[in-house]
């Protein structure tokens, strides 16, 4: 009897899982052919992204944005009359794999410049190697130590926790809020934020009255929230990646915590909205402008490029681009801008990139000898969750 029963059940389960599986498997085909821009020898660039493993939600959109941009650049005649070719490698979200990949790209593929990687660990590994080989690198890693201290030829495109911290504090100052509580993830991302929030608080006249932590996978943060509720904090800052912040927002509502919650850009995405549901109403967040691409003012210097990028990406992949796609897009654009200014001579890239000014989708980049990230806190905006959507705060 048991046997029959299990047979009966096995089929629908197997079927269900196959349906689910096929829904998940996207096409990650090796691409990167040079465009048709003339018969001249292509400029070969290497890109290492995390296409598999835990960082793949970052790496896949980054690669897609770069692929899209390569087609566009070559369609418009390439750089200095030469087509651009990007050779992609997957670092499997692993530091060692990233170094292996970059070695292969440099020694075998003879690339002249590098993009990547998606995560901070692999990127730091790549930076070591590319610095030694004097190959310029533009990374999509968030960590501040990528470009702090500054190293020759190493650049990055994403915002850092320093920008986020300053932008939030600026907002708090406007609102006259001086006492805040922190509830940050105990992982490197959250601890980085805690450090910056503590460092810049005096500068903005802000006192941190409670500094709590949680583990990324903790099922409940209600005790930390109860403690914060007992303090005189006027706002709660939460820095973490999904799903932690969503759990906190939900539980804060259950505990009737009435102070505003401000979350970092680590959870500024549609997944956060999906996870919090209607408990998310009124949550504030610091984010890049790309998050609310349809609400950017027409006179914003970034308005044109954001629109072009979003439209192009949607047409190519049928999804809204996220911040990561933007990092990849800006990375290649910056590299190409540098190549153009160097007259296609890659050996000059290290020096030329330090003078590049470029309006990107992430922000307005102004690279200099002292700043290899080139962004300021003004490239970030404050948004509020309203009716289940992100709304720009004026």
């Amino acid at each position: 009897m048991k046997k029959n029963q299990s047979r009966k059940w096995l089929f629908p389960i197997a079927l269900a899982s196959m349906v689910l599986l096929s829904a998940c498997g996207g096409g990650a085909k090796p691409a990167a052919e040079a465009g048709a821009a003339g018969g001249k020898e292509p400029i070969k660039l290497g890109a290492v992204f995390s296409l598999t493993g835990p960082n793949s939600p970052l790496g896949v959109p980054e690669k897609q944005a770069v692929e899209m941009l390569v087609k566009e650049i070559n369609g418009a005649g390439g750089v200095d009359g030469r087509p651009v070719e990007v050779v992609f490698e997957d670092d499997k979200s692993d530091n060692t794999e990233a170094v292996k990949a970059v070695k292969k790209l440099v020694s075998k593929e003879k690339v002249v410049a590098l993009l990547g990687s998606s995560g901070s660990g692999p990127s730091l590994g790549m930076a070591e190697f590319s610095q030694a080989e004097k190959i310029p690198l533009i990374s999509m890693a968030a960590a501040d130590q990528m470009t702090n201290p500054v190293r020759a030829g190493i650049f990055k495109t994403p915002h850092t926790d320093v920008h986020g911290t300053k932008r939030i504090y600026k907002y708090l100052k406007e609102k006259g809020i001086t006492k805040i509580a922190l509830l940050n993830d105990s992982n490197p991302y959250g601890s980085g934020w805690t450090q910056q929030l503590q460092k810049y608080a005096p500068e903005y006249g802000i006192t941190i009255v409670a500094e709590e932590k949680y583990g990324t996978k903790d099922p409940s943060m209600s005790s930390q929230l109860t403690k914060i509720k007992g303090t005189d904090a006027q706002a709660l800052i939460v820095a973490g990646t999904n799903p932690g912040p969503a759990t906190i927002v939900k539980e804060a509502k259950q505990l009737n915590l009435s102070i505003p919650i401000i979350s970092s850009h680590g959870s500024a995405n549609s997944k956060f909205l999906e996870l919090v549901g209607d408990a998310g109403e009124g949550v504030l967040m610091v984010a890049g402008k790309l998050l609310v691409s349809d609400q950017i003012a027409a006179d914003d210097p970034q308005a044109a490029i954001v629109k072009k990028f979003v439209d192009g990406y949607k047409a190519a992949y049928n999804v809204e681009p996220d911040g990561f796609a933007g990092y990849g897009y800006d990375g290649l654009n910056l590299m190409v801008e540098g190549l153009k200014q160097a007259g296609g001579d890659a050996s000059k890239l290290n020096e030329v990139l330090e003078k590049v000014k470029y309006v990107g989708v992430t922000g307005e980049f102004v690279f200099s000898a002292e700043d290899h990230n080139g962004l300021t806190e003004d490239s970030m905006i404050m948004v509020e969750v309203k009716d289940g959507k992100f709304q720009i705060l004026k």
């Binding site: 835990p54 509830l183 932590k213 099922p219 209600s222 005790s223 999904n242 759990t247 209607d278």
Partner: protein, 292 residues
């Protein structure tokens, strides 16, 4: 004072979750002397299958029911095709085997549903209610109700029914039980089924409070296992009490000492208690001991 009560209330909810997991461990252990380290994965599957079903437009109640059924079945299949298959293996090798199964289930889950977290709507409304200044989520009441119902049903099954007597018989002396015409293999299969069902129930009731994802089973499995040990392995009542103690200690530790040290404090208390009383608070049920 309100703050203290709020911490206790928070602790009771996490304690309740640990209790269901702990009882799942004990149900299997009592019959087969195997510590099923895939217990946390049963819980994860309960939540994830429900979310997936609701995604396919299956009504909430039916989705939850089917999820419990599916996980029960997975428990039974696991016993039939893996645990029972390796005859003559020592309990230790069987325990290692369950680690393998838990990794397999987690891997498959991440393949099927990805590594993202998912949310589940609360069973009733999202509005909390206040009890003397202590705020309680409606879902927390559901969690506690589920714990009590599961504990009661298990007690009833084990102590008041013939089936429970058979299971107990296998636990006391499998050879004698077999001579009486009871199949220890079948009872073990039943135990895995029960564990699957209780795990799935736990997974479903806790998902709305935070989120659920392919790997939530790991941490909850460890916490539940700690509670089972603390209560005295083999003693369901002890495990439940220990689970609530663990939850409350955690909550008070996070509130009054340091939230970064939350887990450390809970486990420190666990170590100290075990040093003082190695057999657990309520003492192991010493009949027919094998295993560890």
């Amino acid at each position: 004072m309100t703050e203290l009560l709020q911490y206790v209330a928070n602790g009771l909810v996490s304690g309740g979750i640990y209790a269901i997991v702990a009882v799942g461990f004990i149900t299997i252990y009592n019959v087969s002397k195997v510590i099923n380290l895939a217990q946390g994965e049963f819980l994860m599957l309960g939540g994830m299958v429900t979310v997936a079903m609701i995604g396919m437009n299956v009504p909430y109640a039916l989705a939850a029911f089917l999820a419990i059924l599916i996980v029960t079945l997975i428990g039974v299949l696991m016993q039939k095709y893996v645990i029972a298959y390796v005859k003559k293996a020592s309990p230790i090798s069987l325990i290692i085997l369950t680690i393998g199964i838990s990794t397999l289930i987690r891997g498959l889950a991440s393949l099927i549903w990805g590594k993202d977290a998912y949310s589940l709507d609360p069973i009733t409304s999202n509005q909390p209610f206040s009890l003397g200044g202590v705020n309680i989520a409606q879902q927390s009441v559901w969690i506690l109700a589920a714990v009590l119902i599961v504990l009661f049903l298990l007690w009833y099954l084990m102590d008041k029914t013939m089936l429970g007597k058979k299971i107990n018989a296998c636990s006391v002396n499998p050879m004698a039980a077999r001579l009486m015409g009871i199949s220890p293999a079948k009872m073990s299969m039943l135990a895995f089924g029960i564990s699957g069902a209780t795990g799935a129930i736990a997974g479903i009731v806790i998902a709305p409070l935070s989120v659920t994802s392919y790997d939530i089973g790991v941490l909850l499995g460890i916490k539940g296992f700690s509670a089972a040990i603390l209560g005295g392995l083999g003693n369901p009542l002890g495990a439940a009490v220990a689970a609530f103690i663990l939850g409350i200690v955690e909550s008070l530790g996070a509130g009054y000492i340091s939230s970064g040290m939350k887990d450390a404090i809970a486990f420190l208390v666990l170590i100290v208690m075990l040093l003082v009383k190695p057999s657990g608070i309520f003492g192991e049920r010493s009949v027919g001991k094998g295993g560890l």
